[in-house]
């Protein structure tokens, strides 16, 4: 009971602290962008810990955060190997391949209205292929190792990037286009000097959504066949063994890696699209 009350108290305190920080005069500092979510996260963890103890939750259900941290400390080498297998080999490779393909197809299709209006619906059809359907097929085609995971990721990230590149390249004002026309600018100058720069805010939208998709894709595909290493392998195996602390340790790694990946893309976006109203 004590713990439950403590949980609620921490909840309230964390919220108040954030309320204060976010509205304080420091709220525009860079550090606040990290501190506030961190406090939020820390609060969640503490409340979680208190509630698990207080409500006596069975650890095969929900482990305590402290157990998870402990597990992470013990299993570092294994977690690292899983990370390399799944994120570096599977997700990143697939992200790059899928991104390049989407980009190439978008730019190609964009040359003609005809191709674009054909590629987009077919692309959206592809995006709707559920991962639990394509993962077994790709494992069959490309084997159990990371290649099949990269293929799944490539397919998953393809559409969001494609749509955004296409939409972005159309997001120019008529005056901006007319200006290019008065220069008698051909396809390439218009592409390089107007359409691509103007498309950047959209492209980064797609790239950001794709970061989270790529992690999910690589991890989930391992459920359908893998070597005996990898985050998805570990999650499903540990889940079957009811080693929930290990499952959560991997989830934490996935969350950290995913957030970092997203953050890096966001940083690049800030640098590239500094001129867009949403960045100013």
């Amino acid at each position: 009971m004590m713990y439950v009350i403590a949980g609620f108290a921490i909840w309230g305190l964390g919220w108040l602290l954030n309320l204060y920080l976010a509205n304080s005069k420091w709220s525009d500092y860079r550090a606040m962008n990290i501190a506030v979510p961190l406090i939020f996260g820390l609060t969640v963890l503490l409340v979680w810990e208190c509630f698990v103890i207080g409500f006596d939750v069975n650890p095969v259900f929900l482990p305590r955060p402290s157990d998870i941290v402990l597990r992470m400390a013990i299993e570092m080498p294994r977690l690292w190997a899983d990370f390399v297998q799944t994120i570096v080999k599977g997700a990143l490779t697939g992200y790059i391949l899928g991104g390049l393909a989407a980009f190439a197809i978008a730019v190609l299709a964009d040359r003609s209205e005809f191709l674009t209006s054909g590629v987009l619906p077919v692309g959206s059809f592809m995006a709707a292929l559920p991962i639990v359907g394509i993962a077994p097929i790709f494992v069959k085609w490309f084997g159990s190792d990371w290649e099949s995971k990269a293929a799944v990721v490539a397919v998953m990230v393809f559409f969001p990037i494609l749509v955004n590149v296409v939409a972005g390249m159309r997001d120019t004002t008529s005056m901006q286009r007319d200006l290019m026309r008065t220069y008698g600018a051909g396809y390439w100058p218009t592409l390089l000097k107007l359409r691509l720069p103007a498309a950047m805010p959209f492209i980064f939208n797609g790239l950001k959504v794709a970061t989270t998709l790529s992690l999910i894709g690589a991890i989930v595909a391992e459920f359908f066949g893998s070597p005996t290493v990898g985050m998805g392998f570990r999650i499903s195996t540990s889940f079957g063994q009811l080693a929930l602390d290990m499952v959560w340790a991997e989830i934490v790694i996935a969350a950290i890696a995913g957030t970092a990946f997203y953050g890096i893309v966001t940083l690049i976006e800030k640098g590239v699209t500094f001129w867009h109203p949403s960045q100013r």
Partner: protein, 260 residues
């Protein structure tokens, strides 16, 4: 070739379809502009000045009628980069600095690095924006943006300059200064210039030909060939000739308004 007009519009019509009915932006417009002419377009707002300029530049396709530029279609002329165009709004690319915006046409037309920086510097000076080349458009005032867009159009030497109210957002002093500069440029280079303005003195001061337009439907109501000499000091504006031309323009304008 010298006989043939640089720009020749015959029986031009242009109708926009809108949600509540067609808008006749241009109706039976006929106009000849010769090489080296400085033509001003003046008329109430909505009379089709912008639309006509866009037709010349091949940015808008007339519903019917015929238009030729240097004996080519406007589209072809556009492709051989016959025009410099200044839009009614500045329309700078937000991801480029002022310098970068001016460099844009130069890059496209393949000028050398050195040539580019020289030209950028020269036109920035011309429009009084020296030192602003590293700023981004949103960091400039409205008038400064407009001047940057004029600089952009001047940076490459197109034979035909089309300017849609380029000096609208500028004060009298700068405006006088730029008017003089423009006249000098025109005299020196023999460019053909199409120029939209709302200022009667400006139109009279600059032009060899003044086209008065009237709205609903947009059409030309008067074409005045200026009898002013090519050499025009600012104080020519007090000459009786100047005042009489201005009066004719004003009457034409008033007639257009009465029609409303």
């Amino acid at each position: 070739m010298t006989q043939e007009p640089t720009i020749d519009a015959k029986g031009l019509h242009l109708t926009f379809e809108t949600n509540d009915g067609p808008v006749h932006a241009l109706q039976d417009v006929n106009l000849e502009i010769n090489k080296g002419d400085f033509v001003s377009f003046i008329g109430p707002s909505g009379c089709g000045k912008t639309t006509f300029l866009r037709c010349i530049a091949g940015l808008e396709t007339p519903t019917s009628g015929h238009i030729s530029v240097n004996g080519l279609t406007p589209d072809e002329a556009r492709r051989v980069r016959a025009y410099g165009y200044v839009f009614q709004a500045a329309g700078l690319y937000p991801w480029r600095t002022i310098g970068g915006n001016i460099r844009l046409p130069l890059e496209i037309m393949g000028f050398s690095k050195f040539e580019m920086s020289q030209r950028v510097e020269r036109v920035l000076e011309l429009v009084d924006l020296t030192g602003f080349d590293k700023k981004f458009p949103w960091q400039l005032s409205g008038g400064m943006q407009q001047r940057a867009s004029i600089a952009r159009a001047l940076a490459f030497d197109a034979d035909i300059l089309l300017m849609d109210e380029p000096f609208g957002a500028l004060d009298e002093i700068v405006r006088d200064h730029l008017n003089e500069q423009l006249l000098q440029l025109w005299a020196r280079t023999e460019k053909t210039i199409g120029f939209v303005t709302h200022s009667i003195p400006e139109a009279v001061y600059l032009s060899t030909k003044i086209v008065v337009m009237s709205p609903r439907p947009g059409r030309i109501t008067d074409v005045i060939d200026s009898s002013l000499p090519k050499e025009r000091p600012l104080d020519i504006r007090d000459s009786p000739e100047f005042i009489s031309i201005a009066q004719r323009v004003r009457d034409g304008l008033r007639a257009g308004h009465a029609h409303v």
